[in-house]
């Protein structure tokens, strides 16, 4: 018996439109972005031992990102992301954003909306009562890439609000670009195995 989903994701880029006509440039740009995210995750998971200097440059950014979002300091937190940044939380580590629905696929605009939402007193599920969260990061492995760096680390999330604490363990894969302000996040991917089984709502996750 073959295990696995009936019609699972196909590795590699998404194929072109069924008509055979060239894909519009705008649509292709979306596909390219999605392919890039998938490729970024694949590279990080299969990469050799990390580069020490790359880790030294990127680890402080990952640490700050986790600490600031736990502290609900969303202004400085958002400043760590580039204008074209995205956050992708797939339902399964093998998924592709062009093919599979995700828990989250945010652009920078929606990251800003999340930050606002986490302060809105009418966001009942995430502010009443106000949650406490703690992100724990494992050692950061990183590699230099064309625009900056690719980094990854293990991640533990604890969320306490009402009812039993929610704890999740996984891995984050982060692409960073070198900017005048220092390394900044262009893409963040959270791989959370518990999503395959089912979790309480994760409206608080960022």
């Amino acid at each position: 018996m073959t295990a696995g989903p009936v019609s699972g994701p196909v590795s590699g880029p998404v194929s072109g439109p069924a008509t055979g006509a060239p894909r519009p440039a705008a649509t292709q740009a979306v596909i390219d972005r999605y392919d890039g995210l998938r490729s970024m995750v694949d590279r990080a998971l299969a990469a050799p031992v990390g580069d020490t200097e790359a880790a030294a440059r990127t680890a402080p950014v990952l640490e700050a990102e986790a600490r600031l979002v736990d502290a609900r300091a969303y202004g400085p937190w958002l400043d760590l992301f580039t204008a074209d940044a995205c956050l992708w939380i797939p339902l399964h580590p093998d998924d592709h954003p062009a093919r599979d629905q995700a828990l989250t696929f945010d652009d920078r605009r929606r990251l800003g909306e999340r930050a606002w939402h986490m302060h809105d007193r009418q966001a009942w599920a995430v502010t009443r009562p106000r949650p406490l969260t703690l992100r724990q990061l494992g050692p950061v492995a990183a590699w230099p890439e064309a625009e900056g760096w690719l980094a990854t680390c293990a991640l533990g999330l604890t969320h306490v609000r009402r009812g039993p604490p929610v704890t999740l363990a996984g891995r984050q894969v982060v692409a960073l670009r070198d900017t005048p302000a220092g390394p900044r996040i262009t893409a963040k991917v959270l791989l959370l195995p518990e999503l395959t089984l089912g979790t309480p709502h994760l409206g608080w996750i960022m």
Partner: protein, 460 residues
């Protein structure tokens, strides 16, 4: 026909007569808190509601080729929906007929047969036993009902439902007016082709499953429970559907019989569903892509989001946006929801690319607030001294009852709640005869081979 459950044709009606009790617990306009808190009622729901009537299991599109299967829940039972070699479908109990081992651990896959990992019993895609180790160690093996148990299946518009009821209500009669809405839902897709994504988003809330049903046609809660989501819409200058005043909208709710209901939001959206969408990741680029191809038909653009018709098929299938939400009760105070995204494979690819992102919006900013409300209700219902929940809104104040007994009301009406609870009462009142359908022993090639071998030995 027998009630001896060691026989393959046994029909058994389990549990007590609850007629008096459910009559007391569910009145026309109030319902008792114990429906949401009593574990013994929950246990009986797993027999009578999630076994004694038709339950949604899978969609045709999930099983394109022979050997394809998915694993689903019917109450506490795991069911394998399997595409057989002749192109048909079977609903097999995921339970070895030897000592009860769960045969399949995966959510889905493709198989030539199902082999029990414990003792190697092998079953075909049609559920018939094909082989076992050391069959000679059984006396009169050919008399034993070892083919996998099955549920009865029925399909409408590609949606596959199953039941264990020995004499179920005819499927189309049970669907009733909801059947036409189901047909219309699929007809919206180009070529009538709808595809269900293989992997569902799975989340759980700490409350009774019926709170999803109380919510599904509740048009008032959106203004208050989803205030934050509505604000995000206002910030983007988008008149989202949920932000509309429920007392001042032409949207309607209708009961459809047997607990099914529909909320039709379309009358309140003259510019079509896509006009109500907030800014979304990749939206501008995909709209540019459609324009570049000269796609201007509003129906194609509207296909990027849900049809604004919230159809609900009792007890476990709720259409919301581009997704199908399947309700799986886990305990009296715990429920799992599986959100299956649907695709339009015959539409321009921009449509499915956008559909991927559309429902992530509400799942991020809206669904958590629904879960919060469900859990707060469950907490509130722990107060034993407050026994009753009011469900009277709309009754004699806005609802109209048709000649067919079906009720139409505003989105503020609680008629859909009253209707599904009436169906709940009907199912729960008395034991429902159920049967494990199984291949006749006479039809089993394996059993006939064993029998001939036994007869030959005895003759020798």
């Amino acid at each position: 026909m027998t009630d001896d459950t060691t026989r393959p044709d046994a029909i058994v009606a389990r549990g007590p007569d609850l007629s008096d009790r459910v009559r007391r617990l569910v009145r026309h306009d109030v319902v008792h808190r114990s429906l949401y808190t009593d574990p013994t009622l929950f246990d009986l729901e797993m027999l009578r509601v999630f076994g004694g009537t038709w339950v949604y299991l899978a969609h045709d599109s999930e099983l394109p080729a022979p050997g394809d299967f998915v694993r689903r829940q019917m109450g506490r039972r795991q069911i394998l929906i399997v595409r057989t070699e002749d192109g048909g479908l079977r609903g097999l109990l995921n339970r070895c007929t030897h000592r009860g081992t769960t045969l399949v651990g995966e959510e889905g896959g493709c198989a030539k047969r199902f082999v029990c990992p414990y003792h190697g019993w092998s079953f075909g895609l049609d559920g018939r036993i094909q082989n076992m180790p050391v069959p000679d160690s059984y006396d009169r093996l050919y008399e034993r009902p070892f083919d996998l148990g099955q549920v009865a299946l029925a399909t409408r518009a590609g949606f596959v439902f199953g039941t264990l009821a020995a004499d179920p209500m005819p499927f189309d009669r049970w669907l009733g007016a909801a059947g036409d809405w189901l047909d219309a839902h699929v007809a919206r897709y180009p070529g009538g082709r709808m595809r269900v994504q293989h992997r569902a988003l799975t989340q759980e809330y700490g409350a009774n499953w019926k709170l999803s049903w109380d919510n599904t046609a509740d048009g008032i809660h959106a203004t208050f429970a989803h205030a934050s989501y509505n604000h995000l819409g206002k910030e983007a200058d988008t008149d989202t559907v949920l932000a509309r005043n429920p007392a001042d909208t032409p949207m309607v709710s209708k009961t459809l019989g047997h607990g099914h209901c529909v909320v039709d939001q379309r009358p309140g959206i003259p510019d079509g569903p896509w006009s109500t969408m907030r800014p979304l990741p990749t939206r501008e680029a995909l709209e540019d892509g459609l324009r570049a191809q000269g796609v201007t038909d509003p129906a194609v653009w509207d296909l990027m989001t849900g049809d604004m018709v919230n159809l609900s098929i009792f007890p476990n299938l709720i259409f919301v946006g581009n997704q199908m939400m399947v309700v799986e009760p886990l305990a009296v105070n715990r429920t799992r929801l599986r959100f299956f995204l649907t695709h339009a494979p015959a539409a321009p690819e921009e449509v499915d690319l956008m559909r991927l992102r559309v429902d992530e919006d509400f799942l991020s900013f809206g669904t958590p607030d629904d879960f919060e409300m469900f859990e707060r209700v469950q907490d509130g219902l722990a107060v034993e001294e407050e026994e009753w929940i009011d469900i009277s809104r709309g009754d004699g104040a806005g609802d109209t009852v048709g000649a067919d007994g079906l009720v139409t009301g505003t989105v503020a009406s609680e008629a859909p709640m009253r209707a599904y609870l009436a169906e709940w009462k009907r199912l729960m009142a008395q034991p429902i005869p159920t049967t494990i359908r199984r291949a006749r022993i006479e039809d089993s090639r394996f059993m006939q081979t064993i029998r001939r071998r036994e007869m030959a030995k005895k003759g020798a």
